[in-house]
Symmetry: D3
Subunit: 257 residues, 6 copies
Amino acid sequence: MHLAEHTTTTAAERLADVEVAVLPVGSTEQHGPALPLGTDFTVAAAFAETVADRDDTVVLPTLPVGVSEHHRQFHGTLWTSPETFEAYVTETLEGIASHGVEKAVVVNGHGGNTGALDRTARRLRERETAFAPTWNWWESVSELSGELFETEGGHAGPAETSVVLEVAPALVREDALAEAGEGAPDGWGSTVHGAAVGFDTIDFTPTGAVGDPTEGSADAGERLFEAAAAELDTLVDWLCEQPFESLLPREHVGNSP
Amino acid sequence: MHLAEHTTTTAAERLADVEVAVLPVGSTEQHGPALPLGTDFTVAAAFAETVADRDDTVVLPTLPVGVSEHHRQFHGTLWTSPETFEAYVTETLEGIASHGVEKAVVVNGHGGNTGALDRTARRLRERETAFAPTWNWWESVSELSGELFETEGGHAGPAETSVVLEVAPALVREDALAEAGEGAPDGWGSTVHGAAVGFDTIDFTPTGAVGDPTEGSADAGERLFEAAAAELDTLVDWLCEQPFESLLPREHVGNSP
Amino acid sequence: MHLAEHTTTTAAERLADVEVAVLPVGSTEQHGPALPLGTDFTVAAAFAETVADRDDTVVLPTLPVGVSEHHRQFHGTLWTSPETFEAYVTETLEGIASHGVEKAVVVNGHGGNTGALDRTARRLRERETAFAPTWNWWESVSELSGELFETEGGHAGPAETSVVLEVAPALVREDALAEAGEGAPDGWGSTVHGAAVGFDTIDFTPTGAVGDPTEGSADAGERLFEAAAAELDTLVDWLCEQPFESLLPREHVGNSP
Amino acid sequence: MHLAEHTTTTAAERLADVEVAVLPVGSTEQHGPALPLGTDFTVAAAFAETVADRDDTVVLPTLPVGVSEHHRQFHGTLWTSPETFEAYVTETLEGIASHGVEKAVVVNGHGGNTGALDRTARRLRERETAFAPTWNWWESVSELSGELFETEGGHAGPAETSVVLEVAPALVREDALAEAGEGAPDGWGSTVHGAAVGFDTIDFTPTGAVGDPTEGSADAGERLFEAAAAELDTLVDWLCEQPFESLLPREHVGNSP
Amino acid sequence: MHLAEHTTTTAAERLADVEVAVLPVGSTEQHGPALPLGTDFTVAAAFAETVADRDDTVVLPTLPVGVSEHHRQFHGTLWTSPETFEAYVTETLEGIASHGVEKAVVVNGHGGNTGALDRTARRLRERETAFAPTWNWWESVSELSGELFETEGGHAGPAETSVVLEVAPALVREDALAEAGEGAPDGWGSTVHGAAVGFDTIDFTPTGAVGDPTEGSADAGERLFEAAAAELDTLVDWLCEQPFESLLPREHVGNSP
Amino acid sequence: MHLAEHTTTTAAERLADVEVAVLPVGSTEQHGPALPLGTDFTVAAAFAETVADRDDTVVLPTLPVGVSEHHRQFHGTLWTSPETFEAYVTETLEGIASHGVEKAVVVNGHGGNTGALDRTARRLRERETAFAPTWNWWESVSELSGELFETEGGHAGPAETSVVLEVAPALVREDALAEAGEGAPDGWGSTVHGAAVGFDTIDFTPTGAVGDPTEGSADAGERLFEAAAAELDTLVDWLCEQPFESLLPREHVGNSP
């Protein structure tokens, strides 16, 4: 069910059977000249959609602005501080927990959000409000990505390009894919003798992309999307099976204090 | 233009002509047994859509969770603190301002957001970052509402019901409209000798609605929507005409300090 | 009783019978050329005084600086942020609650304070510390104001001028009342097609006043003051009668969660 | 001049000549069985009054609640956190500085406020907003106190009792002075081998007083009050003479960085 | 025991017998031309070492940066805000309390830290997390200091110089002691008619020292150090003897509320 | 140079030549039954020592408590929130920058600190206060680790064990190394279908260690330490060569805004 489409009374009936809230989050940020600024939240929403028909889930509205300050030199990028994003996500999950849904998956489309989401998850669990791990689609299919593409890629790279070709093909400017890859590095960031010194994307990629986007394809996108969606589905299964108490923080070791 | 559908490079071209950012915000909260939980952000997004085709606007993604703690006893309501909502909106508007769009309209679908949005607007102006007034659709057509309906209404009342019938008819449970009005008060809140003592919606309405929703109709919705959309369009015209400097805070009176 | 005039031991005896704390709050801000900067807290203190002789009340010291940044361009205006004012009021009320007085009325003389006071009241109730609604004198007598004056007025307008003539006549510069009304708008604020665009008082009134202050009079002030004081007295009666538990937040609807 | 008694226009004229703002602050807290809960702000206001007639000062409204949590076990004590008190004072002083009065004296009646006031003063100076030292009346006449009384005293002790007898004799319960001294320690606090271990007043004094209040007298109060008032007057003189720039933070030593 | 030198399993065994955590804190700040920037944390660590061999103590790692902004004009001074320092200390003590050690002594080497440490102690006690008074070595031996030296001294003065000569003689530039005393005032701060107006050290001492450092000596240092260490040892004894419950905040006086 | 060992005057001379501040940070947290709780800050300090003799560096005092809440169930673990740790580090680096050293390396011994350190680095650079990348020793020698050991390891695993055997052999309980590896997983964390669900260390390792510590050796430690120290040295070289301006954030792309 999509929470926003229900009334409070029909929601009441349905939420009684729901085990897991699904919260899609992403960002609005540059994805090079070929992919849309809304890539991350669009992809997250598409994955959330794949588990929306289950009786044991409730899909919350998509949160579209995330932790993207490092892309700010590129036109159109929006961002919030990590603290604000963490608060917005945390309070949203506290709300659904107040109606009895204490397990959640944050379906995340943007790597820059993960630090804040980790703090959200830790603190909700610590306070015994909710158990809400983050699910990053690209991590669930990293092996398949490795098989499909030669360059490691990442932000706006072959895997992400492929997935957008699957979920929102009309928004991909395919004629700009080659341009996106020009001068783009193989992997994320810029490191000098063990220290990450490239704090902003513009420090290490002139186009905003990482990896060779022309490696991406609609076919690869379909395969990645289906594989990741299957992982998400199984993750939701697993969460449904866990009693909430079993997900709470463990006790201090030993007899003390 | 919808920001999220552009790439950074096509956004760059278009933003050069843009004068006004349009940010739809709402909430996910109970609207009684007949209207969807997503009413407020759905309506806000619909209004934003009406000015999306102008060359001088950019529509930002919709922010779907707002200041709704006072509805929390009803199933499905989500909320953030006013401080978090203010921060999320403020930082989003700072982002678009960093790309040169320093005027904005926050198209708001939820009365509970206005305190936070007023602070956002005041502080962005004070820092000379942006001029971003809030536009509440119901305030732009209060006269017409008065003509159309007998009960004053308000939250989930006749005017709001009508507008949802216009913008998302499939989400209205028309057979529950009569139930929504049962026991609902005519106006918002509960007052004792000059003091507002009903802090939560549940303190003064058993169904969550205010006013008689059965007064609402698709026809009334069409009239309200078109009238309000015209107001919004004219507001955007007005903003486009104002030089940014003329919108900044006025100087201290007199010669000192 | 006035708390500050008692010693801790005489306070102990008296507080045992007290049901309601009365906290006068206002601001120090421009009220045009005719009314004193201290208008709002002076009027609040005067209203608090009217219920000070009851055995079931304790009057706390007056808090004289409030949320008045929107008047800052006029000489003499002081202000705090809404967050600071909220904290100062909230902690003051937490203090008196710690001595067993868990019901309170915030007697407020300044409209700009209401957002912060609403958050104070909501949060104190939510935490079950206190039930502390705001009482705005002008809202308790809005009908009478409508009868007495032709212009709607508001800040430094006919009703407020009248009440200051009643409670602190020596501080009114009657010869400046006409000047105060010159160019003053009838009502508060400045709106463009449904959006409030005048964030500071100076944006819409050259003198700082709203409405025609020359409509005010000592007679009108006496009538308004007595009528409002009677409302306050009845509000205190009502609060005394309510068991504290009955004032706490209501439960979630339905059986869940 | 008292700021609150002026209108914005008469304030504008007078503030042109003003050099120093005078802000009385105190607390509402137990002062034993004999002295009123409002002792600290009453005394502060009385001292502020002594410099109110100067042409070069403006007296701001009295802030009546301070940092008094350590007295909270005694009936009637109110308090705010140090952070809230600091913010309330700081923002009040920023307001008067915005009208051109950048020098101030915080006339303080409560020792517990000094940590917060020191941070206020430091930060206002650091930001070059204002120079606003704290003036504690008891520190300005510590020598005279030593001559007048045998016990060192302090909170609600002989010196404070004397000063209240001078400024608000009607509020002193003289018949309770002996009781106040029963079991009261000579000096503030409780120390164990170099560590202060009495965090609350109740940890070291059963009545709330420190020192022997019966040593106090109206005569001693008159002497102390006049001596301290003379010190305050001279301090204001000194502040008037200092160019604001000479009061700003000093540069880093040496040529670097 | 030094916590950091144990493994988690050997710590578990030892902590079972521990009553008191010892946390050395200081600062890194100018101490004039003769004493090292690390004086305050070095001395604190040395005192903590004197009680490290007891079975009932655990020494935590030394926190080396404190509240020293008032020394910032002198090369090499580091500092945090009082709020940050308070948080860092508080959370460190909450950590050790979570393992069952709820009594602590903060062995402090820097006067500027005391305000923050007092708040730490009060708040940990208020929440019943820990009882953690601050121990300032110089306060435990103030009488002896008075006997040993003619000038009152203080920061980088005779007593501190002596103690550094005892605990870290290699870091004292004895040939600079005379220079340190040139122009140094006898006591801390700068006062005008009862108001402290010297907010930074540089406002009242050209060298950064207070008092005549040439009065200091290794002999005096030995005496001071031993005397203070004996006080600390006795303080730890005292803490060991107190049941934790007896150290918690006292109840409200009387029967109410 | 070690900052803390200099006086303000000798520091002034030396800092004139310094290009890079070196700030060792770690944590005090469980490292299984064989490694000391102080492992992370001890190792960080040892690496900082290797560049302390350069004329162009200044080594700041070691910050010993970090972001380790996820180890809290194991005896002896201390921690601060990420926000507090970020503030403590940031303000420390602002201090040294105020004396003219605007480039820094944070030598970090604890993976859990990296999120906070990344925010520190980004914000200091954004405000143009300092350029302060984090250097994680294990990342600078990840290739060598891969060659030396079969298990990937990580926290308290073979590489860390080896390095502690190099820098603080007396603190390693070698007889407990086998026990440490019992039941320890090969890699960090616990993942279910793409989601990290093990928020605390105790969720996935019974001993607190990750990897097989018995693979570690003093020889491997020496090789790792020297290799990493060489990387750090080269990183400092690189930082010395960069003009500060070249390290500041890049401009917005294109001509606008």
